[in-house]
């Protein structure tokens, strides 16, 4: 039996003209497939909402409180494991150096002082180079080039700020 267009009318629940209604009624009486479609549709439209057992909100509050406690406990344990694990790893990695440091302190003190002196002299030299550079270079660069450089730097700064703001925003929707 041809179910078209009756099946579509029943499935789409579209408004029908009086003639179409009569045609549909006649078809439904003769066709068990479309009759089942119509009857199940009526049944579906007459369904009701089932409420939960009384005290649902109270049970939710209890569950939320229990979950918060569990979450806090989990975080605390996580922190403990992280600290202990991190400490153990650090100790394991630095153990050979620590042993060397403890056994000969004079050697590492000399090493640290030498290193600090190297940093200080390097910074001093760099400062002097920069001063010479700043004294010589401005004479060679025309003012409009300076304006271009400053504008470009300002633009980059703005782009950076906007990017941080855009990516830093919380993702919406679940």
């Amino acid at each position: 039996m041809n179910h078209r267009p009756f099946e579509d009318w029943l499935l789409n629940n579209q408004p029908l003209t009086p003639t179409e209604k009569l045609d549909l009624d006649a078809h439904v009486r003769a066709c068990p497939h479309c009759a089942a479609l119509a009857e199940s549709g009526i049944e579906l439209r007459s369904v009701r909402m089932v409420p939960p057992a009384p005290g649902f909100t109270v049970r939710f509050q209890q569950r939320l409180a229990a979950q918060r406690i569990a979450e806090r406990r989990r975080r605390l344990w996580g922190l403990v494991v992280l600290l202990v694990g991190g400490g153990a790893l650090l100790l394991w990695l630095t153990a050979p150096f620590l042993l060397a440091l403890i056994s000969s302190p004079a050697q590492w003190i000399t090493l640290v002082i030498g290193y600090l002196l190297f940093i200080l002299t390097s910074m001093q030299t760099l400062g002097e180079i920069m001063l010479v550079f700043l004294r010589v270079v401005p004479g060679f660069i025309p003012p409009f080039v300076w304006m271009v450089i400053v504008s470009a730097l300002a633009g980059l700064g703005l782009l950076w700020t906007v990017s941080i703001w855009r990516f830093g925003r919380f993702q919406r929707g679940v």
């Binding site: 499935l11 068990p32 497939h33 089942a36 479609l37 009857e39 199940s40 549709g41 049944e43 579906l44 439209r45 369904v47 909402m49 089932v50 409420p51 939960p52 057992a53 649902f56 909100t57 049970r59 939710f60 509050q61 569950r63 939320l64 979950q67 919380f170 993702q171 919406r172 929707g173 679940v174």
Partner: protein, 200 residues
């Protein structure tokens, strides 16, 4: 700003009281969806509670452009679909526990008349029995369409499907339900008792 928007906004700022108001307002729609999806009151209660917990945890991510009910029911539907999919794997063992420790109970064979009890339940909610035979996502679409009067676009938004996919799922599910309705019809007719009039 209406009352619901105010509660949502307060809940987003961390107000437990405002969220409790939302739970009170939406407990029945959420529970009903879970019950229609899972078919058992205990599982439905657990799923509804879990839905509200998830909503509470992610309330800051809620987009105010969407209706709150749609967002909430979407969480419930996805949770139930996942749960039903997990349950499929546990169906081989009757006493097996699911991931939350719930067991699946069958009617007690030692009860006075298990068949009669079972039949009573079947006739009490025939649609519920037929829903169980549908695919999880089709079931969610049917529930949203007929219990909540959701449009195809709203269902698509809730179930993360396209509108054409929702349409085809609804059509397929309706045809499947009609087939089940046809199969169930002769069985659900009450048997005539001796000396009873054939008219009843």
């Amino acid at each position: 700003m209406n009352e619901e928007s105010a509660w949502v906004s307060q809940a987003q700022q961390g107000s437990d009281e405002a969220f409790t108001r939302l739970v009170e307002t939406y407990q029945t729609p959420v529970y009903n969806l879970c019950y229609r999806m899972l078919g058992e009151p205990d599982l439905a209660e657990d799923a509804a509670q879990e839905t509200f917990l998830r909503a509470f945890q992610h309330i800051r991510r809620y987009d105010e452009k969407r209706p709150f009910a749609t967002w909430l029911l979407s969480i419930a539907a996805h949770y139930c679909i996942d749960r039903l999919r997990k349950r499929k794997f546990a169906m081989f063992s009757i006493d097996e526990e699911d991931d939350d420790g719930n067991t699946y109970e069958l009617p007690d064979p030692s009860s006075p008349d298990p068949e009669a009890e079972s039949m009573k339940g079947e006739t009490r909610d025939r649609v519920q029995a037929m829903l169980k035979d549908l695919d999880e996502t089709d079931r969610a679409a049917i529930i949203m369409r007929y219990w909540y009067d959701y449009s195809e676009a709203e269902i698509a938004d809730s179930l993360r499907l396209t509108v054409s996919a929702v349409k085809s799922r609804l059509h397929r599910a309706r045809k499947e339900l009609a087939g089940l309705w046809q199969e169930e019809k002769p069985r659900s007719k009450p048997e005539r008792r001796p000396h009873e009039s054939p008219a009843f």
